[in-house]
């Protein structure tokens, strides 16, 4: 009998899932399935993908509900993107928009509710106008007009890779402008 070293043993032992996590999984399953169906998954596929997502979520179980929800929908979009690549293009089986601008804000109801109050949005709007011009243009075309990187690249005469860099830089600029503390409450339960 080869028993693992005690330290690892303690960590790898099947720990009962935290109560909050179990409640989260129970409450979020149906909204997640609806989200998947709205993106072209059949009812049956949606159930399968949702199950897969919940299993992948277990390793982040210690996080608060706000972060769990963000993670859950990110994982779900990753699975949809995986599927979009691996499925053959059959007429009755719509491919998913995997280079998608299609990531509606509402897909993560939690912390965004607070933002919808308007104050955060007003600050964000101000911060956006402090970004370098090209960076702001690219970012707004993506966020406000919902253009994909390919569309923006075509529109601005730059490469999709440069679009990606502008997007990352825009996020860094916005955070610098807004200050790292402006999100504190989102990180907590």
């Amino acid at each position: 009998m080869s028993s693992p070293p005690p330290v690892i043993h303690r960590v790898s032992e099947p720990v009962p899932l935290p109560e909050a996590f179990a409640v989260f999984v129970r409450d979020e399953r149906e909204p997640l399935c609806a989200f998947l169906r709205a993106r072209g998954a059949s009812a049956e596929d949606a159930e399968d993908i949702a199950q897969d997502c919940m299993e992948r979520l277990i390793r982040y179980r210690a996080h608060g509900t706000g972060e769990l929800r963000l993670l859950l929908y990110r994982i779900a979009r990753n699975r949809l993107a995986d599927r979009g690549r691996s499925l053959p293009a059959r007429a009755h089986l719509p491919l998913l928009d995997d280079h998608a601008p299609d990531t509606p804000a509402g897909s993560t109801p939690g912390p965004l509710r607070q933002a919808e109050s308007g104050q955060m949005l007003a600050l964000l709007r101000q911060a956006l106008f402090k970004l370098p011009e090209r960076c702001r243009q690219v970012y707004l075309l993506n966020r406000v007009s919902g253009m994909s990187y390919t569309q923006i690249a075509r529109h601005c005469g730059i490469t999709a890779n440069t679009v990606e860099k502008h997007i990352a830089r825009a996020l860094q600029g916005l955070r610098k402008e807004l200050g790292p503390d402006s999100f504190r409450k989102d990180g907590e339960t």
Binding site: F35, A38, R39, G40, Y60, H63, E67, L70, I75, R77, N78, A81, D82, S86, A89, P94, L95, D97, D98, H99, A100, P101, D102, T103, P104, A105, G106, S107, T108, L112, A115, M120, L121, L124, R125, L128, Y139, L140, L141, R143, V144, S145, G146, M147, S148, Y149, T150, Q151, R154, H155, A160, A168, L171, Q172, L174, R175, L178, F183, D186, G187
Partner: protein, 324 residues
């Protein structure tokens, strides 16, 4: 050197923001997505940093509800300019494809793209052909741009389409109605009861319906029609511009609309649904301008002007009934 300013926290955020950007790239691979999920699991700080970046990114998309900003961006991204671009872009795409190993080969592939707005504010999306779709809260559509034609299926809710000029005909299917269009701006809405509303802001649209009373109508700018579930197209009436343009920036305008319709529209923007069970009440004509998502304002107006009271049900919904 400003290295000192790069606190570990900032570096983690930088990595996180790069992941946010990478995951939406067309050429992001499954292996990269797995690597991202592993990176998150490495340290709780990675999740915190990423959650900040992702939240910011999603909040920025909420600015699509800001009509001023949307106009500002739309002016820069006018679809008309794209008329000349596709051919150039295809040529450029082919060059890049040769050099870049086929990254752009996806162009022209007539895949169906799904657009769903699960949020509680209207959102603007640019379709593959350059057309701009403004999806109302709760709306969903599927779009397919082929070599010969463009096809949009309105799955639910309301959408405004600003169609990019193109030799390819655009057909919009909404329930039992088909709209044929060549370069124009119009709105189409699928209602809960099977009716379809079409309003034309500019250009020309031909509406064809199916069903027992199948018919056809060529809509003039400034007109709106309603298609019944039977296929019958009701006589065209003058479009209400305040109503047609109001929802785009959060104002719901009603002029003698049945209460049921007011409630159906209002519910798109709110987590707490309003319910009308009494059929006599459902057909009551209501007029007024209400802020999307502000149910309290609507309830106050209904109480004052129409003697309607509200009661919270056990399931959380708010039921409307006549004041005793």
């Amino acid at each position: 050197m400003r290295v000192a300013e790069h606190t570990p926290d900032e570096q983690t955020f930088q990595r996180a923001s790069e992941w946010v950007a990478r995951l939406e790239a067309a050429d992001c691979t499954g292996a990269e997505r797995d690597a991202f999920e592993d990176w998150l699991a490495e340290h709780p700080d990675h999740v915190h940093a990423w959650a900040q970046a992702e939240t910011l990114h999603q909040q920025a998309a909420l600015l699509a509800a800001d009509a001023g900003l949307r106009t500002h961006v739309a002016a820069q991204a006018r679809p008309a300019r794209r008329r000349w671009l596709p051919r150039l872009a295809i040529a450029a795409g082919l060059c890049v494809a040769v050099i870049g190993g086929g990254l752009f080969a996806i162009d022209g592939n007539p895949a169906t793209h799904h657009y769903a707005n699960d949020s509680r504010v209207p959102q603007q999306r640019t379709l593959e052909d350059g057309s701009i779709a403004t999806l109302d809260a709760g709306a969903a559509l599927a779009a397919r741009v082929g070599w010969r034609g463009r096809r949009i299926e309105l799955e639910r809710g309301r959408v405004q389409l600003q169609v990019a000029p193109s030799a390819k005909t655009l057909r919009v299917h909404a329930g039992n109605s088909t709209l044929r269009d060549i370069g124009t701006t119009f709105q189409v809405e699928r209602r809960g009861d099977g009716r379809v509303d079409v309003a034309l802001l500019e250009g020309a649209v031909e509406v064809t319906s199916s069903g027992a009373q199948a018919s056809r109508y060529l809509l003039q700018p400034g007109q709106q029609v309603q298609v019944l579930p039977t296929g019958r197209i009701q006589p065209a009436v003058a479009m209400s511009r305040p109503a047609a343009e109001g929802w785009l920036h959060g104002q719901l305008v009603f002029d003698g609309a049945p209460l049921q319709e007011v409630v159906e529209r209002m519910n798109r923007y709110s987590a707490t649904p309003l319910v009308v069970d009494d059929p006599a009440l459902a057909s009551l004509a209501v007029s007024g301008t209400f802020r999307a998502g502000d149910a309290q304002q609507l309830l106050r107006a209904l109480a004052l002007g129409w003697s309607i009271a509200a009661r919270q049900r056990a399931d959380g919904a708010v039921e409307l009934h006549r004041q005793p």
